[in-house]
Symmetry: C2
Subunit: 501 residues, 2 copies
Amino acid sequence: MFTLPQKESGAPTTCVGPASTQDLGSSYEDGLEGECSRKPDQKLPELRGVGDPIMFSSGSSYLSSRGRMIKWFWDSAEEGYRTYHMDEYDEAKNTSGIINLGTSENKLCFDLLSKRLSQHDMHWVEPSLLQYPDWRGHLFLREEVAKFLSFYCKSPAPLKPKNVVVLNGCASLFSALATVLCEVGEAFLIPTPYYGAITQHVYLYGNVRLAYVYLDSEVTGTDTRPFQLTVEKLEMALQEANSEGIKVKGLILINPQNPLGDIYSPGELQEYLVFAKRHKLHVVVDEVYMLSVFEESVGYRSVLSLERLPDPQRTHVMWATSKDFGMSGLRFGTLYTENQDVATAVASLCRYHGLSGLVQHQMAQLLRDRDWINQVYLPENHARLRAAHTYVSEELRVLGIPFLSGGAGFFIWVDLRKYLPEATFEGEMLLWRRFLENKVLLSFGKAFECKEPGWFRFVFSDKAHRLRLGMQRVRQVLEGQAQVAEDPPPCQTQKPSDQRR
Amino acid sequence: MFTLPQKESGAPTTCVGPASTQDLGSSYEDGLEGECSRKPDQKLPELRGVGDPIMFSSGSSYLSSRGRMIKWFWDSAEEGYRTYHMDEYDEAKNTSGIINLGTSENKLCFDLLSKRLSQHDMHWVEPSLLQYPDWRGHLFLREEVAKFLSFYCKSPAPLKPKNVVVLNGCASLFSALATVLCEVGEAFLIPTPYYGAITQHVYLYGNVRLAYVYLDSEVTGTDTRPFQLTVEKLEMALQEANSEGIKVKGLILINPQNPLGDIYSPGELQEYLVFAKRHKLHVVVDEVYMLSVFEESVGYRSVLSLERLPDPQRTHVMWATSKDFGMSGLRFGTLYTENQDVATAVASLCRYHGLSGLVQHQMAQLLRDRDWINQVYLPENHARLRAAHTYVSEELRVLGIPFLSGGAGFFIWVDLRKYLPEATFEGEMLLWRRFLENKVLLSFGKAFECKEPGWFRFVFSDKAHRLRLGMQRVRQVLEGQAQVAEDPPPCQTQKPSDQRR
């Protein structure tokens, strides 16, 4: 949790934290480790953190203060991005280059996707696709999205096209929802660790903050697993935000969760929704990994499958093709909400988040091809994810490294606390740098606002030869590193080794 | 010019004027005619106008105040959009439907475009196009854009890919530039009449205002033509804004101009740029109609063709395919700026304005096909624009209606002042409604913040049969209407009949 007053100028005034840029085309956040991210539990003084005028005083005189802050986010990420892209692994040209196990992309199915997207039905041009669209999305596409979500979310009744808004990805959707639901400076509750880029998505345009519900690996009270979200923790975080004068407008849930790789049970989901209803909070449910649940035993349920939503007018669901169809570069996301005011307000902002009519046609063709999805794509994708996951988790087991993984998503949440040279985020950073120096890019826990230093996200949704090499390099670092770490970090209270649900 | 104080809540606090939504897929702005747009010359009281809490008090309790404002823009436009789309003209199915001469789209070349976009080279899928992109745009595309602009803007030296940022249209680019160049509440100078949607583009996300440089049809002082922009008028407007406490950060120039359909000469352009440099103002030059100059005699020059820009670090040029390639639904726009801070800050926001990798490939293919552009598309497009323009202007001449048209763009700026039932914007609205009732949709001058009631924008870039029918219906209204108007409006001081340059 953080609190900072607003500045009149509209300049950044909040410690927006160590936003992850992993999934933003840059797989690392070195320069983002500023004042505020090193001391996440400290109450920050006025104007410290991202909005700190000292931090931007040397910035461009051509930009507004918010422009400098926006650029700073880029530059910070850019530093790491450069490191990686200047020396990217290539099996033909640069076998000693950096292996990227940091960016959450599914690189296992380009063959299937390329083939499908190259089929004749994808190539369609007609005047209506070249003219100004309905900013909610073409009706033909919203109809397909409604059918698709009805089927794959197992909704009790058919979902309706009028509740659908399509746009160029969920980053945009976070930006639009934050703006239309919150005033400047208001906040969303979010359990940590979480996909850190959301910090920027709600802040850069919307000036909306995140109030953290800190979870940790210790299993206490009624918890049954590490990093478990409970209503009690939600209540506490809300109360804390209120006591600090932060107006909380909503709750963000990521399900399947990123970076934990697990899911919320329908019972838990229901409890969180009831909590939100009690406090009149909007709930934004990010389900971008909904079809990437690769373990059949995992009983994943979309929020849209619930028999009755506690507060349907305040429940807003996002989905995209970026993860589930491994096409983060295609830029297609969608909102489902029964609240027509919210749908309309988001649509009004969609003039800034629009996607090509030609792509809208392609997405409609893809989503309606149930045969291909069910008989070709999903079985094969899940089998490949499962195999890759098995490989990486076995490697970790052999190394004796504890980890969490719930059979969903593209990543394993790995406990490297015992390898830290010191039990701090500086120590985490040092270890992360060792990995990078040894040519393997990972994501460190601070980027997800993890409370405990030493957790790393390993992305496994990549080809076997790259995974092998990446894991070899990880092992080299840890075997060298294991001797360096003198004391186990004090916060290491339990080993959630290979927890699954 | 308007002035309003900021509200702490971030709620809308400025009379953002009668934003045109014509080119946003809705071709009309009935509901946008609120308090502030009726009295554009009055200094507005606190919180009047769009941000008026009374106006939004009946709005949704689910939305933030800015969310309600954003939705209001949609609803207001939606009303007219519905009218048109519920009864759209169709030559097969609805010959008594509404003819749209309001939306500025080029509907003359879908045959050429469909053919080109259907060619084999457009259909290319490869992993890099499906993965997270460089948010500035793929390098292969930025290289093509730089070459394309070098050639068509006749730049004295080759333009550089590093100065290019690509995104999903110029609406987004206005939003991003406003945000990174201005603080909340600061303003851009803009000469009126202007493409009214810019009001929303800089305001909805960016909270940036427009300070109007009012031009009129009267030729006075050193003017040589109606609605002439001079440095003197710029200086006055800047001074007025300053005196009202409005911080002006830049100047927006649209060249070729919308809705006037004319251009700035290189000499004028130079003068405006020198004025901007003198006051350290950024200049945003919108050149989206640069290849739609259909009269060869018009000596159009892109700002990028100037031998030396007075202040290159503050000169930012936008171009898109929406107008010049008649593909407003394709969502492709580009920024060219030598200022790397501005390019980077805009790129940082491009995570919310990204376009598909597949579309980036298509655009690169299109822009590099110089043979097709030079030998097929441009000659044919210009010939068709010229023919359509000739038809509509002849019709106007026969009717004895004065108009302005400069051989560029898709529209004629038509002086219907003598047909107004009263010389007010209410009178303008009444006449506009008569047109709509007679099934022809036009854009009225108030939507462009024209100072004088009675001007209308006629879009001529449509097929002959629709133009014929549209002009017939216009004639019917005017011939019936001519008798209704009892007195000529007092502001009718001159007739800029058929002025061209």
